[in-house]
C-alpha cells in the first residue's frame, strides 16, 4: 500500500465552549487533491490550522510519510514543506507584496535585506504563475480583496510546497483567476504534491479533486470518490441528511456525475 503523505489519526480540538473537532481521520496522498467540505462551522478551518501549526490539536496524531510528527508551531509545518492559504489570508496590510511574500523567510546578504533579489523573485514567480499584480511595492491594504487572496496564493507557491492547504481559495476570485488557480492545483498535483482544498463550490471540487472528505459538526461524515459520487450525495452528507458512519461507502452507479 502507498504510504500517505499526511495522515491525521483521531484529531480532536476544543475551544472553551465548542468541541470543534472530534476524532477526525484524514489521509492525503502525494499526487492527490482531497477536497474538504462541510457546512459553516463544521470545523474545516480549525482542521487546516491543526495541520499548518497555527492552532495545534489537543489530542490525536499527525503522521508525515508514515512517521508521527509534532506540529506545534507554523514553523514546524513550513519545515515539512506544508504551505497554507488561510481563509482570513493572514497578511500584513502595512507591508508591501514583496515583504508579505517573504515574511519569516527574508533573503539577506550579510544581515541586510536583499530587496532587489526578493523583488526579482517575486516578479519571476508572478510571471510563472501568470498572475498580474500592478505594483509589487504597494502596501497590501491598498489591494482589493481578490488581489490579496491572489497574493496569499502566490506566497504559498514561494518554495514549491509538498502539501498545499487551501481554505476557500476561490472565494472572491474572479472567473479567470479561479480557472488559473485550478490549473495550478492540477500542475502541483502532477508534480507529486498533495493538496487539501476547502470549498463550498461543487464545480471547483468536481474539476480538480480526486476524493472528497465531509466534515459535519467536527466529525468525519463520509469520504467519497469524486468520479463516482453524485453532488447531491455529498451535499446531503455535509448538511446531515445522511449519516455516513462507514467511510468510502460504495455509491450507486446512477448517482455518479456525468
Amino acid at each position: 500500500m502507498v504510504q500517505p503523505l499526511l495522515a491525521l489519526r483521531g484529531v480532536s480540538k476544543r475551544f472553551a465552549a465548542v468541541q470543534a473537532l472530534v476524532d477526525v481521520e484524514l489521509e492525503i496522498r502525494a499526487g492527490e487533491v482531497v477536497a474538504l467540505v462541510g457546512d459553516n462551522a463544521a470545523g474545516k478551518s480549525t482542521l487546516v490550522k491543526v495541520i499548518s501549526g497555527a492552532g495545534p490539536a489537543d489530542k490525536g496524531v499527525i503522521e508525515w510519510e508514515g512517521g508521527a510528527v509534532q506540529i506545534k508551531r507554523p514553523q514546524d509545518a513550513q519545515a515539512l514543506g506544508i504551505a497554507t492559504v488561510y481563509q482570513d489570508l493572514a497578511m500584513c496590510g502595512n507591508l508591501d507584496v514583496v515583504a508579505n511574500l517573504f515574511l519569516g523567510r527574508e533573503i539577506h546578504r550579510f544581515g541586510i535585506l536583499d530587496e532587489v533579489e526578493m523583488e526579482r523573485r517575486t516578479r519571476e514567480l508572478l510571471q510563472i504563475l501568470s498572475i498580474r499584480i500592478p505594483d509589487v511595492r504597494a502596501p497590501l491594504a491598498t489591494l482589493s480583496g481578490g488581489q490579496r487572496r491572489v497574493v496569499a496564493i502566490t506566497r504559498s507557491f514561494l518554495d514549491p510546497p509538498r502539501l498545499l492547504l487551501l481554505d476557500e481559495p476561490t472565494a472572491s476570485l474572479g472567473f479567470e483567476q479561479t480557472n488559473q488557480l485550478l490549473d495550478l492545483i492540477e500542475e502541483l498535483r502532477d508534480r507529486g504534491a498533495g493538496v487539501l482544498l476547502i470549498s463550498h463550490n461543487m464545480g471547483d471540487i468536481k474539476a480538480v479533486a480526486d476524493r472528497v472528505a465531509v466534515l459535519r459538526l467536527g466529525r468525519n461524515n463520509g469520504l467519497f470518490n469524486v468520479s463516482t459520487t453524485s453532488q447531491e450525495q455529498i451535499i446531503s452528507a455535509s448538511t446531515g441528511a445522511t449519516d455516513n458512519a462507514a467511510l468510502d461507502r460504495p455509491p450507486r452507479p446512477e448517482e455518479a456525475w456525468p
Binding site: 502525494a30 499526487g31 499548518s52 497555527a54 508551531r73 507554523p74 514553523q75 513550513q78 514543506g81 497554507t84 488561510y86 489570508l89 493572514a90 497578511m91 500584513c92 496590510g93 502595512n94 507591508l95 515583504a99 515574511l103 519569516g104 523567510r105 527574508e106 539577506h108 544581515g111 541586510i112 535585506l113 532587489v116 533579489e117 523583488e119 526579482r120 516578479r123 519571476e124 514567480l125 508572478l126 510571471q127 510563472i128 501568470s130 498580474r132 505594483d135 511595492r137 504597494a138 502596501p139 491594504a141 491598498t142 482589493s144 480583496g145 507557491f157 514549491p160 510546497p161 509538498r162 500542475e187 502541483l188 508534480r191 507529486g192 504534491a193
Partner: protein, 424 residues
C-alpha cells in the same frame, strides 16, 4: 514522492507549453521609470506624506520664533538646542520601536531616571569606576525592558499595564537610590558629564564628517540603483538621487557651519545621529526590522508566517528599556547630577509625543526612528523659543499639546483612509 526540481524547471515547462503566458509577464519589465513614477504618485494620492508634515511644522516653528526674537536661530541657541534634544531624543527612538509593534511603553521616563540615579549612586556613593557604573546602569534598563516584555508576551498582561506598573516601581527605586537629598552630584569632567559637555571645535572634524555622510549616502544610493538596473527592475532616476544628495549636503554642511560658530559639533548630537542611523538601518533594511513592522501590521499574520512573536516583542522592549537608560544618562549629564526630573513624567510624555509628532503611528506598523529626531526638535524648539520670549511654561504646554493633537489627528485620518481602502 516529493516535488522534484524548483520553480525554474516548472517555468521551463510552461514556457514550452504556453508562449501566451510569457507575453503577459514581459509587461512588468517595461517602462521602469513609468512604474517608479506611478508608485510615487500612488503614495501621494494615498496620503503617505512621510516626513513632510513634520518638516513643515518644524519650519513654521523656526520661522515664527525667529521673527519674534532674532536670537532664536543664533549659533548659540541652536547649539544648546542640539544638545538639549539628545536625552529625550534617545528615549524617543526606543519608543518608536515599541510603537512600531503597536504597543506602548510607559516606563521609559522612570527607567531614564533610574539609570541616572543608579550611575550616580554606584559611582559617587559606592566609588565604582565610571565605565562599570555606566554599563550597569544601561544593563539595568535592558533587563527591566526584558522583564516588561516577558510579562507582556508570556503571561499576557497588556503592555500598557505592565509598563504602568514599571513606571511606578522604577520611579520608587530611583527615589530610594537618590536618598533624602533627592539629588546626587557627580564629577563635572567625568565620563558622563563629558557626554553633553564635549564639542568638536575643529572645522576638519565637522566638515570631514559632513562630507563622509554625504558621500556614503550617494554611494549607497548609486549601488542600489545599479543592482536594480542590472536586475531589470524599476529604479530611482539619477536626477532624483543627485537632488536628494544635494539636499542632504546643504542640511549637514549648514548645520556644521552654524554649530561651528559656537562651540563646534556636540558629541551628544553625533551619538544621537549615530543611534538613529543604525536603528533606521536595523528597522528598514534587516529581517529583524521587517518582522518588527510585520508585528505592527498584524500579530496573528506574522505568527502564522513563522515569525517568533514572543522573541520579537521581548527584544523590542529590551531596545526601548536600553535606550531609555542611555537617554537618562544624557539627561543627568546635562546637570552633572542625578535628579528626580526625568522620572517626573515630562520626559515620558515628551518622548512619546516626539515619536508621534515626527510621524510614527500610534496604531503600529508605520514610522521611522528619524521621526524621533524631527519630533523632539519641534518640541524642544517650542520650549526654547518660549524660554527666549520669557513666556511661562503653562503656555508652552498648551502649544505642545495642540501640536501633539494635530499629529494624532493626522495619524488617525491616515489610518482611517488605509482602512477604508482595505475594506474596499
Amino acid at each position: 514522492m516529493a516535488v522534484r526540481g524548483g520553480w525554474r524547471e516548472w517555468r521551463r515547462g510552461i514556457q514550452v507549453r504556453g508562449a501566451g503566458r510569457r507575453r503577459d509577464g514581459r509587461r512588468w519589465y517595461a517602462g521602469h521609470i513609468r512604474t517608479y513614477a506611478g508608485a510615487a504618485r500612488r503614495r501621494l494620492r494615498e496620503g503617505e506624506l512621510g516626513p513632510a508634515p513634520a518638516l513643515l511644522a518644524l519650519a513654521v516653528t523656526w520661522i515664527v520664533f525667529q521673527s519674534l526674537n532674532e536670537n532664536f536661530l543664533s549659533p548659540r541657541n541652536l547649539s544648546v538646542l542640539g544638545v538639549d534634544i539628545v536625552g529625550t531624543g534617545m528615549v524617543a527612538v526606543g519608543v518608536v520601536f515599541v510603537l512600531l509593534i503597536g504597543e506602548i511603553d510607559l516606563s521609559v521616563g522612570s527607567l531614564a531616571g533610574l539609570s541616572g540615579a543608579l550611575f550616580a549612586a554606584l559611582n559617587v556613593t559606592h566609588g565604582m569606576s565610571e565605565w562599570l557604573a555606566v554599563i550597569i546602569a544601561v544593563g539595568c534598563g535592558a533587563v527591566a525592558g526584558a522583564f516588561h516584555g516577558f510579562v507582556f508576551t508570556k503571561i499576557g498582561v497588556p503592555a500598557f499595564v505592565v509598563t504602568l506598573a514599571g513606571l511606578l516601581a522604577w520611579n520608587g527605586l530611583m527615589l530610594y537610590l537618590l536618598g533624602p537629598e533627592s539629588t546626587i552630584h557627580f564629577s563635572e569632567d567625568g565620563l558622563v558629564a563629558e557626554l553633553t559637555g564635549r564639542h568638536f571645535g575643529s572645522a576638519a572634524v565637522g566638515y570631514g564628517l559632513a562630507a563622509l555622510g554625504t558621500v556614503a549616502y550617494l554611494l549607497v544610493a548609486h549601488y542600489d540603483r545599479g543592482r536594480r538596473v542590472a536586475a531589470g527592475m524599476p529604479y530611482r532616476p539619477v536626477g532624483e538621487i543627485w537632488a536628494r544628495t544635494a539636499l542632504l549636503a546643504v542640511v549637514v554642511f549648514v548645520a556644521v557651519y552654524v554649530l561651528g560658530r559656537f562651540e563646534g559639533l556636540p558629541l551628544a548630537l553625533l551619538i544621537l545621529l549615530g543611534v538613529i542611523v543604525v536603528s533606521d538601518v536595523l528597522l528598514r533594511r534587516t529581517p529583524y526590522g521587517r518582522q518588527v513592522h510585520a508585528l505592527g501590521g498584524g500579530v496573528e499574520a506574522a505568527r502564522r508566517a513563522g515569525v517568533d512573536v514572543a522573541r520579537m516583542r521581548i527584544s523590542v522592549f529590551v531596545v526601548s528599556g536600553t535606550l531609555a537608560a542611555v537617554g537618562g544618562l544624557f539627561v543627568a549629564s546635562r546637570l552633572a547630577s542625578a535628579t528626580q526630573v526625568p522620572g517626573s513624567g515630562m520626559l515620558l510624555i515628551n518622548a512619546i509625543a516626539a515619536a508621534v509628532i515626527g510621524g510614527t503611528s500610534l496604531f503600529g506598523g508605520r514610522g521611522s526612528t528619524w521621526s524621533a529626531l524631527l519630533g523632539v526638535l519641534i518640541i524642544q524648539s517650542i520650549a526654547s523659543g518660549m524660554a527666549l520670549l520669557g513666556v511661562q511654561s503653562a503656555v508652552q504646554f498648551m502649544i505642545t499639546g495642540g501640536v501633539l493633537l494635530i499629529a494624532v489627528v493626522f495619524d488617525s485620518l491616515a489610518r482611517r483612509a488605509a482602512e477604508s481602502r482595505g475594506r474596499a
